[in-house]
Symmetry: C2
Subunit: 201 residues, 2 copies
Amino acid sequence: MPKIVDHDARRRHIADAVHRIVHDKGMESVSLREVAAEAGMSMGAVQYYVTTKEQMLLLALERIGMWIGERVAAVTARQPTPLDVLRTTVLELLPLDEERRFLNRVGLAFQASSVVNENQAAAMRLGYAHLLAFLTEQIRAAQAAGQLAAGLDAGKEASILYAFAQGVVNAALVGHYTPQEVTALLDEHLGRMSAGPLPMI
Amino acid sequence: MPKIVDHDARRRHIADAVHRIVHDKGMESVSLREVAAEAGMSMGAVQYYVTTKEQMLLLALERIGMWIGERVAAVTARQPTPLDVLRTTVLELLPLDEERRFLNRVGLAFQASSVVNENQAAAMRLGYAHLLAFLTEQIRAAQAAGQLAAGLDAGKEASILYAFAQGVVNAALVGHYTPQEVTALLDEHLGRMSAGPLPMI
DNA sequence: GTTTTTACCATGCACTCGCATGAGAAAATG
DNA sequence: CATTTTCTCATGCGAGTGCATGGTAAAAAC
């Protein structure tokens, strides 16, 4: 048979183009033509790998979720204690450098889009559940290690922590928090959960 | 001169139509024709009161800000203590009933839109600053009344509290927190700030 | 009455949209 | 070689987009 093409690679290429457009000009600027141009391919080629615009957006959303998951997994692997893992994980979710800022801009756009698109909402809930489960797990580990008060409801703490992180992201993206301010806010919040003083990293 | 028309009322009418469309079908479904149909007027009439789509969206955003401001002002007026005002204000910002859910859906859409639209971002920052100043003020009052620890940095606490609230809103809109869960999370967070146990309302 | 100012509407224009179609290029198989 | 399968492209279609224009109703001013 003919030309062997890595379909998955093509899809990734398309999804990345979608991400860049969403980041630069917003969700409403995403069109098949614009994506094709950004991806450096013809519109027909895009249509070959993606049957509909809706599916294309869903693909882009799912890949954002994977991207975040990979980042979190990679960084947390090399932290000494559960509380360090927890703090670093949340920091990983905040717009503290260009790449995370990029991820968060695109993420916020999809968050808003998910409100009126049930398929996208389902994908978001999935990533949300994973992240929340991971945070809960780390809080439990920190409790077991004596780094967090044993009396805390780990699930509830995870919800609050993640809500706080998301809120900071929103504010940072539209307002103008500096990375330092964002980090300071997080540590203030974590310090309130923590049994003792926060370890410096 | 001729037909006396309340321009401001017309603008409000148009803005409300924009809100309903954003709420029901999302930001990307907003078009002059759609808005005109939703507002029950001709496209020409809409154009008469709003010179451009961009301006129309900005108008709609500003009116959302006013709406929230009015709600907050109205409710907080009849609270006994500063801490009650604080709690009630934050509750006012959460999607706990149909109207607040409506406000938050539209608000989140504009938040995302503001990321790639500097005029909208400026309007959002304005509302953000007002709300944050108000929260800070209430925290200070609560400290003066002995309801919150005097050592807290009121401004920082307000930032954290508002970030938390925004994050809960995001999660509630796309996920499925019930109003009870949302309220429980808030009280958990407030309880951590508070010197003593939370008063029941 | 006529004039003047305000409010409104229908329509046109150039453009973009998502999607469908059919033709053709490219490469492995027979 | 020819055939078959995979991939790519250009183009067309109907619909929708923001915005501009010219005309028209209507009411106050004269």
